[in-house]
């Protein structure tokens, strides 16, 4: 992708974004190599239940004597996988929807956008709750629920992008040379939309992680014994007197992850806006 390297360079120049990238990198590495690093989220040790953080248990232990750090690491796995799957699902459905609706307009636009309106008629969490009420509680249901609520975001952003690009002369030019609709859509408009889609992916990651955790916290997300941050908060809340760290530390991991995605998303938006502004300035100067 053109400009990908440049955008990354701009990104690491910003302190907040660099820190966020570093944190996410560590988190992903931990999640991927969790087994190799010897984290065990299920080993119980009743003798050591609800122990405060110590040299042996950096994050302490839970009510069954399980190592909270291990559970946080595996929770990252659950969280990232559920959110990642949801974002992919939302993108695979939402991007083509927006592309077709924006490019062809007319009845296709009307039908697709009404579908989006229906998805938006309910706040995301209600929609997810309704879906889970139907499909029962599973990691797949959580992923599906979070993913479907992400579709409108992609569809709307891509559609808006297509509508604005369609007015641009370089898209009209393709038609003037005799390029087909497919060529216009996939070879001209889509490559000019990747940046916007990328921003949406990052933004949706933070929303998806939050939503997944919220569902687990409400007791309807990824079911136990799979470790998940939301579920840990839910249980930890019952032991606030005995073991405050139980609810604090997984929540901290969750918060930092969300903040990291949010920071990167905002930095990306700012970088792309600056680029646009630079182009506009150049155009303004010449007129």
């Amino acid at each position: 992708m053109r400009g990908g390297a440049r955008i990354l360079r701009e990104l690491v120049r910003r302190k907040g974004a660099l820190l966020s990238l570093a944190f996410l990198a560590v988190l992903v590495l931990l999640a991927v190599f969790a087994v190799a690093l010897g984290f065990d989220p299920v080993k119980q040790n009743i003798l050591h239940s609800l122990e405060a953080p110590s040299r042996a248990y950096w994050f302490g232990t839970d009510e069954l004597g399980r190592d909270i750090l291990s559970r946080v690491v595996y929770g990252a796995r659950t969280s990232l996988m559920t959110a990642g799957g949801a974002v992919v699902l939302a993108g695979v459905i939402g991007v083509p929807m927006g592309l077709v609706a924006g490019f062809f307009g007319g009845w296709r636009d009307a039908v697709l956008m009404r579908a989006v309106d229906v998805l938006l008629a309910l706040p995301a969490i209600l929609f997810a709750l309704a879906l889970i009420a139907v499909f029962g509680r599973s990691q797949g249901a959580a992923m599906l629920a979070v993913g479907i609520t992400g579709i409108p975001g992609f569809a709307r952003i891509v559609r808006a992008q297509v509508l604005s690009l369609r007015q641009r002369d370089f898209v009209v030019a393709v038609e003037a040379f005799g390029g087909s609709s497919g060529y216009s859509m996939f070879r001209t408009i889509l490559p000019n939309s990747w940046n916007q889609i990328l921003v949406q992916v990052v933004v949706l990651c933070s929303i998806a992680i939050l939503l997944e955790a919220a569902l687990a916290f409400l007791g309807v997300g990824v079911p136990p014994p799979t470790p998940s941050w939301g579920e840990m908060l839910r249980t930890g809340k019952s032991y606030l007197h005995e073991a405050p760290y139980y609810a604090i530390l997984p929540g901290l991991a969750l918060t930092l992850t969300i903040l990291s995605f949010d920071t990167i998303g905002r930095s990306l938006t700012a970088i792309l806006e600056n680029e646009d502004a630079a182009v506009t300035r150049a155009e303004g100067v010449a007129s």
Binding site: R114, V118, A121, L122, P123, I125, L126, A133, F217, T255
Partner: protein, 315 residues
């Protein structure tokens, strides 16, 4: 104007229609269907047949739907499977609690969000702006359920100032006691929404402050204060109205979670309980009520927008 409102209402019809089909179909999509839900898995065939006939499930599905829709429109969502009470009555008991929470949270969000947005937009790039933008990021990024837990830890567990589980006390009956129970959930929710509010309003203000008409206003010799008050605020708040719809979505979602954190007896908590007890009529009722509130607010906002912006012609 009336025509515009009618047009917006007409646009809602297909959306609400499809949504209602979805909500109606929920109960049929569940394994075992409505009968399985009501009788459990160990029912015998005679019981099933009787119930099917009693409920009219042997009629065409379209008839069943319109029957259900007709009842729902008049507020009859059926009877809770759990408590055997009419759903509408249960909702009626819980709704005031949620509305009270929402009202106080809105107040906190507005009192917090607008000054933050103004202060940072008037000094873009300054340390104050960076600090306040960081604050909005935190307000948005810290999950409400974690913030709620931290508040409980501090104010209920450590300091013992406030109750860790909140009851619903109407504000007009005992304001002080009501606030004791309301302040933590309302603050949790309000801080979150203030983040949404501050971020959008700041962006709106910054873009308006850079608009050409601001330069024109300065060239007329107007003071900065007047330019912001008279010219910028109106223009910045206008697009912001459209964001209120988005805010409402986070609000309702946030309310469901917040009520769970503080075991606050609102609509959201009842919905979660209904899901865990698979009380489908109650689930349907809660979702429909929330949907109607959400849609009504969005509609009001749209109409308000058209009313305030002279550029929109609603002829």
């Amino acid at each position: 104007m009336t025509a515009y409102v009618l047009r917006r209402l007409a646009q809602l019809v297909p959306v609400l229609f499809i949504a209602s089909i979805g909500i109606f179909a929920m109960i049929y999509a569940v394994p075992g269907g409505p009968v399985g839900i009501m009788l459990g898995e160990n029912a015998n065939q005679a019981e099933i047949d009787a119930l099917v006939h009693d409920l009219g499930l042997d009629r065409p599905i379209a008839i069943q739907y319109f029957d259900w829709l007709g009842s729902a429109v008049t507020g009859d969502f059926g009877v809770s499977l759990h408590s055997r009470e009419p759903v509408i009555k249960l909702i009626g008991e819980r709704l005031p609690a949620t509305l009270q929470l929402a009202a106080v949270a809105t107040l906190i969000a507005v009192l917090l969000g607008i000054p933050v947005a103004l202060a940072s937009a008037l000094h873009p790039g300054s340390w104050l702006d960076r600090m306040l933008s960081g604050w909005s990021a935190l307000a948005l990024g810290v999950p409400t359920f974690w913030l709620g837990i931290l508040l409980i830890l501090l104010f209920a567990v450590e300091l013992r100032w406030l109750p860790s589980a909140s009851r619903y006390v109407p504000l007009w009956e005992d304001p002080l006691e009501a606030l004791r129970h309301l302040i933590m959930p309302a603050a949790t929710l309000g801080v979150y929404v203030s983040g949404v509010l501050a971020r959008f309003l700041r962006a709106s203000l910054v873009s308006q402050l850079g608009a050409d008409y601001v330069r024109t206003a300065r060239s007329k010799g107007l003071s900065r204060g007047r330019i912001v008050r008279v010219h910028v605020m109106r223009n910045a708040l206008l697009p912001f109205i459209t964001v209120i719809g988005l805010m409402m979505a986070t609000f309702i979602g946030g309310a469901v979670v917040t009520e769970a954190v503080f075991t606050y007896p609102g609509l959201g908590r009842m919905l979660i309980q209904a899901i865990s007890t698979r009380d489908y009529p109650l689930i349907q009722g809660c979702i429909i009520v929330m949907l109607v509130i959400y849609v009504a607010i969005n509609l009001t906002v749209d109409v308000l927008y058209a009313y305030v912006d002279p550029r929109i012609e609603y002829s």
